[in-house]
């Protein structure tokens, strides 16, 4: 078991290194940083000075080593726009994104799981058909447009909920959170719902598929033959088998929620790192872009690693494989 964890850890490290190479090459070779960094009107001496300052006259491998060394120190250079450490700028925005993504995840699970369970247990009922058609809509609706319609309906027409910003926040553990104040919650609700829409459909469909895979199994019939109540069969025998896909969703899709928050944050002016990256791309703020990409790589690889660990904890069969 320990060796398999170590092996997975080394694999994860390898992926991270591979991604640093890709990000480095993408930013420094395909895109020309000189064009970005230097005013086109600058004279020759000015150009040479900037090139030397950023080490762009060094051979590529040398630049990569410097890049890696910077990475390890958490030094991505200073943001062109904010004039401060790019990593710091990102980290300041991170709690807002985290809060938004977590809220969306909770909504997706709280709504998607029961509906998926119902649709799986009663596939022929009218309600199930409505749920399944709704989930197709949930897949098809473009998130950004739904966000706009939320604003139009709840903020403009009905005036129930605010349409931008985080509202009032409370500071805990050095980070600001919205969900603890009433005003903050009101601000959080629409963006979280918007971000959750697609994942809710996904959770719903996966849950239904899982239920329909488990229900015809002999062990469910055997459980009935033992005289167990339907409640026990569903809450223990079916749900325990569903935990594996659900953990996968929670783990892997959480990363994707953070990535997709780019859209939702832009619509609802949510001050997270998704909005930051869009602004940075528009303003060509290269250090922030690189810091964001590396942060996302780290989040994704980390989540993959954690999900792998959860598998071994949840599924006894995988655990046995690991022992061998």
């Amino acid at each position: 078991m320990v060796t398999s964890i170590i092996r997975r850890f080394i694999q994860a490290l390898f992926v991270i290194v591979a991604m640093t190479v890709i990000v480095f090459l993408a930013v420094n070779v395909i895109g020309n940083p000189v064009d970005i960094l230097i005013n086109p009107d600058a004279n020759q001496a000015e150009r040479a000075r900037v090139i030397a300052e950023y080490g762009l006259d060094q051979p590529l491998w040398r630049q990569y080593i410097d890049f890696l060394a910077g990475l390890l120190r958490g030094d991505f250079g200073n943001s062109f726009v904010y004039g401060r450490s790019a990593l710091q700028v990102i980290l300041e925005r991170f709690p807002a994104t985290l809060e938004l993504a977590l809220s969306a995840l909770v909504i997706a699970l709280v709504v998607g799981l029961p509906l998926g369970l119902y649709a799986g247990l009663r596939p022929r009922s009218v309600a199930s058909r409505i749920i399944m058609s709704g989930s197709i809509l949930g897949f098809s609706l473009p998130t950004f447009w739904v966000g706009l319609m939320f604003i139009l309906l709840f903020s403009v027409q009905l005036g129930w909920l605010p349409s931008n910003g985080r509202g009032e926040t409370v500071e805990i553990l050095g980070m600001r959170w919205s969900f603890l104040t009433e005003d903050g919650l009101r601000h959080l609700f629409l963006p979280a719902l918007n971000l959750a829409l697609f994942k809710t459909s996904l959770v719903l469909r996966l849950t239904r598929a899982g239920v329909q895979e488990v229900l015809p199994q002999d062990y469910i019939k055997f459980a009935r033959a033992k005289g167990l109540s339907e409640r026990r069969i569903i809450s223990v025998h079916v749900l325990k088998n569903l935990m594996i896909p659900v953990v996968t969703i929670v783990g892997l899709e959480f990363g994707s929620l953070i990535a997709f928050s780019v859209v939702t944050e832009s619509i609802f002016a949510w001050p997270g790192m998704g909005k930051l990256i869009i602004d940075s791309i528009n303003l060509l703020d290269r250090p922030v872009i690189v810091a964001y990409l590396m942060m996302m790589v780290l989040i994704f690889v980390g989540l993959n690693f954690i999900v792998d660990l959860c598998y071994t904890l949840l599924d006894p069969r995988v655990r046995l494989d690991a022992k061998r």
Binding site: V15, A18, M19, V23, A26, V27, I30, G31, I136, L137, F139, S140, L141, P142, T143, F144, W145, L148, M149, I151, L152, S155, V156, S163, L252, G255, S256, A259, F260, V262, V263, S266, I267, I277, I278, I281, N282, I289, L293, M296, F300, N304
Partner: protein, 314 residues
């Protein structure tokens, strides 16, 4: 590789046809699948809608009341008119106008053109690249295969929008770059599926027979493996067109895609965003409906295609 004159080419053809499962069954199976497809009312509705959308998009320059991107045709006095109002010169704007006095209906028609083009082009290019990669990986095997599949897995573990953002961050903004980003973000899906299908096919007897005939590798690939991998490619392609359209709209909305002079549905919706709070809903609403209908129609067709063609691994 065999030298061609060793075997009568007609004989090779004959044996090839006899051993290939697809060649003999295609026409009859195809007809049955077609009949099966039309049995679903949802799919038929989707297909009809899609046909209308495509025709309307193609004919946009002829049926649109104005060319919304020809600034000389726009009149600032007509700006922000609500749906149904008449222009300064008396022409009705069925769906209203935007801030530049652009007719929304015309914008939608031209926008559909751009969106469909982006969707089809990127899905088609990604299909060609991904299918070639998947097929060759399955055919070559060994280290090349595992290396290629490592890359595919790595790429698939990141969401498409992140890949697209990364590409746009590097390449810069613009519709062409969006198409490039979509291709790079989506080819891996094809590669993985085609490889999985090809792996199954590779083990079948008719491939063995084709190898025994010492047919050249490219011939086995294209005449025998490829036709059997087409079903999943078709299914993924429909879904991918829908995804690409949605993603392009999203990126354009974020200001990373189409420039103001390049019409696309995402651009129109984005234009209306700032007026939403002041109640000018139609600028964003109607293009959004057009986008939604297009995506749902494609998905309905794709869903049914998946059921009918029933490819594994999708």
């Amino acid at each position: 590789m065999p030298n061609g004159d060793a075997m009568d080419p007609q004989l090779v053809d004959h044996i090839e046809n006899a051993v290939s499962e697809t060649q003999t069954l295609t026409s009859e199976r195809g007809r049955n699948q077609l009949r099966e497809f039309f049995r679903s009312p949802g799919a038929v509705l989707g297909l009809l809608t899609l046909c209308v959308i495509i025709i309307v998009a193609i004919l946009a320059p002829y049926i649109a009341p104005q060319n919304p991107y020809d600034l000389s045709q726009l009149d600032i006095l007509d700006s922000r008119l609500s749906p149904g109002s008449e222009s300064f010169s008396g022409v009705p704007y069925v769906l209203g106008t935007d801030a530049q006095g652009r007719d929304i209906l015309s914008g939608i028609l031209y926008g559909l053109r751009a969106s469909l083009m982006v969707g089809v082009l990127s899905a088609f290019a990604a299909a060609i690249i991904g299918t070639s990669a998947g097929l060759s990986a399955a055919y070559i095997g060994g280290r090349v295969e595992s290396f290629m599949m490592r890359i595919v897995d790595l790429q698939l573990s990141f969401p498409t929008i992140l890949m697209a953002l990364m590409m746009l961050a590097v390449l810069g903004k613009g519709l062409v770059n969006v198409i490039l980003a979509l291709i790079i973000a989506e080819w891996a899906v094809y590669a993985r599926t085609v490889r999985a299908t090809a792996l199954v096919e590779r083990e079948k007897e008719y491939i063995e027979a084709a190898r025994c005939l010492r047919l050249p590798g490219w011939r086995i690939l294209f005449r025998h493996l490829l036709p059997n991998c087409l079903a999943p490619v078709i299914v993924i392609s429909t879904m991918q067109v829908a995804r690409a359209i949605s993603l392009e709209a999203t990126l354009s909305f974020l200001g990373l895609g189409a420039s103001v002079t390049e019409p696309s549905l995402g651009m129109l919706i984005s234009n209306g965003y700032q007026y939403l709070l002041s109640g000018l809903y139609w600028i964003s609403f109607y293009p959004g409906i057009a986008l939604l209908v297009t995506i749902v129609a494609i998905n309905l067709v794709g869903d049914r295609l998946r059921d009918v063609l029933n490819p594994r691994n999708v």
